[in-house]
């Protein structure tokens, strides 16, 4: 019973917040995705990164190790995804980003926060930042067919991450007013991201069910296995290990659909993968959490 209420305290808020966005959109009300994206990614997420790292004490070594482990998970996920797609004879530009980049922001961050507190959120943000950099460079390049660094340089979250790492390195602290301001604005990111996730899911349709299910299950299974394996490889323990495993096992990210839509890379199929993998996560996430929380 105690485990059940602990699990529901972590997982239910995520799906309840997404449900607000889902029914908001289904009831025919507008969810201005440009406005949400600006509020979340240009303002709130950078503030969340700064405020969290100002509060949580992490050593530069811990951040570096977790960052390298996150890169390894993404790279290995990409290679395995490529092999799977080669065998299935599916085109890389359409499916590879979806096999590689997970929902580590809107779903990953609240799970990290509720399961392991602000320490968990700080660890989750490291994986999130690595994934963001990967999505804006390699993910965009795979879908577009060419590499561009402009987008990355214009992302405030990247600058916030640079600032956060700089502060960890030098041991400098930010003034109280700046910490309080970023903390306040950082509070928007998680709920608004979840509401907008629900809004996106409400618009998604599944194209070919069989393929979407197969790819989604493969992605989730590979992600979980990589999380466990890479954590072992880097000798991660405690919160760092749990966060790496959780973030690696998140469903397909909505951003993959955005790229597929812009570059006309079978967006309906990618949307189906996002929808199916998110639905499966409603079952797998509590199981993984139960395993981690009971000392797995």
């Amino acid at each position: 019973m105690a485990l059940l209420s602990q699990l529901s305290a972590i997982v239910l808020p995520v799906f309840l917040c997404a449900a607000i966005g889902f029914f908001w959109t289904r009831s025919g009300r507008a969810l201005d995705s440009d406005l949400v994206a600006t509020l979340v990614y240009k303002i709130s997420v950078p503030c969340l990164i700064i405020a969290t790292f100002a509060k949580v004490e992490l050593t530069p070594e811990a951040v570096g190790t977790l960052g390298l482990a996150s890169i390894t998970v993404l790279a290995a996920g990409g290679v395995i995804g490529a092999i799977v797609l080669k065998i299935a004879k599916l085109p890389f530009p359409s499916y590879l980003p979806a096999m590689t980049f997970s929902l580590v922001g809107s779903m990953g961050l609240p799970v990290c926060l509720f399961a392991y507190g602000e320490e968990g959120l700080a660890h989750g943000l490291v994986f999130f930042t690595v994934t963001s950099i990967g999505t804006f460079t390699i993910g965009a390049a795979i879908a577009a067919g060419r590499m561009s660094l402009d987008k990355l340089i214009r992302e405030p979250a990247i600058w916030a991450a640079v600032l956060a790492v700089g502060l960890l390195w030098t041991g400098w602290t930010l003034p109280e007013w700046l910490i309080n301001t970023t903390w306040l604005l950082g509070g928007i990111a998680i709920p608004l991201q979840l509401i907008s996730l629900g809004g996106s899911l409400a618009q998604f349709r599944v194209g070919s069910l069989g393929r979407a299910v197969t790819l989604a299950v493969t992605k989730l299974a590979v992600g979980f296995a990589l999380g466990v394996g890479v954590a072992e490889l880097f000798g991660l323990t405690g919160v760092a290990r749990a966060i790496l495993i959780l973030q690696a096992a998140m469903p397909v990210a909505v951003s993959n659909y955005m790229f597929a839509l812009i570059h006309k890379r079978e967006p309906v199929e990618v949307a189906g993968m996002v929808l199916i993998s998110t639905a499966i996560t409603a079952v797998t996430l509590p199981l993984i959490l139960a395993w981690l929380l009971t000392g797995g």
């Binding site: 305290a9 507008a30 201005d32 406005l35 306040l184 709920p191 608004l192």
Partner: protein, 263 residues
């Protein structure tokens, strides 16, 4: 869209989350809420007369002259001035203020006091639910506490951002009126708080919190409502900003007075 999300989800969650996270004794809760309700009633009467005398649109301006920023400005001040006891008292006032601000504020601005709007307001149910947990003496389950905490966390920054957006559109011509009505909001609120605490024999934290909360600048929520019904949103924003600006000067004096007495 942002206004709808804030009014329908974020603010109700903030009320539920703050109320259930604190242990408030029901009698203190009732006393502070009751006296504050009288202050709100007195404020409505005097403000309506003043606005009519000034030949202003009573329905548009009444909410902003009556309802103050008891949440995002009042609560931290109550906490810093009177500790946990002050915060608990401040929250009971905040609940009355937020509920009446939404219920009456919407009916003043929309020009009709419809029963349907009153019973469909999410605030009312949220307050009852939170009071139910307080009466029963049980903590809400973890999933409910976490959900309301994160959604409630959006309300203050989103309300402030929405205010900033309106600030950018504010017309300079209404500055004089904004400052005058803002000064009235804070000045009359202060007098009402002082008189009522004397009348009901309040002392210590109960007295300080009542006066503090009565003398807060106009609530940001009034701008959100005005914008939603498109009833002079720029001028209402001016009142909110004008009174907030004035409170930069009045707050330190007010805090000094309620903490060190008026002697």
């Amino acid at each position: 869209m942002i206004g709808g999300l804030v009014v329908n989800f974020a603010v109700p969650c903030l009320i539920f989350s703050t109320l259930t996270r604190l242990q408030v004794s029901i009698s203190d809760f009732g006393a502070a809420a009751g006296v504050f309700s009288i202050a709100v009633g007195a404020n409505i009467l005097v403000s309506a007369v003043l606005l009519r005398a000034l030949k202003r649109d009573v329905g548009a301006f009444l909410p902003a002259t009556v309802f103050a920023n008891n949440g995002n400005m009042g609560l931290p001040l109550c906490l810093f001035a009177f500790g946990e006891e002050g915060l608990a008292l401040g929250i009971s006032i905040f609940v009355v203020s937020a509920t009446t601000n939404f219920l009456l504020g919407v009916s003043f601005v929309s020009g009709r006091m419809s029963f349907k709007e009153t019973i469909t307001a999410p605030h009312l149910y949220v307050v009852f639910a939170a009071l139910g947990f307080l009466f029963a003496g049980v903590d809400p389950p973890g999933w409910l506490a976490n959900t309301t905490r994160i959604i409630g966390g959006m309300s203050i920054p989103l309300m402030l951002l929405a205010l900033g957006v309106s600030l950018a559109r504010l017309k300079v011509s209404s500055v004089g009126q904004s400052l005058f009505l803002g000064a009235y909001r804070i000045g009359f609120g202060f007098c009402a708080g002082l008189a009522l605490s004397w009348l009901f024999g309040l002392e210590g934290a109960a007295r300080g919190v009542l006066i503090l909360q009565c003398a807060m600048p106009a609530a940001v929520l009034n701008y959100i409502i005005a914008a939603r019904y498109d009833r002079e949103p720029g001028e209402v924003a001016g009142l909110v900003v004008g009174s907030t600006f004035l409170s930069l000067a009045t707050l330190p004096l007010l805090l000094y007075a309620v903490i060190h007495g008026f002697g």
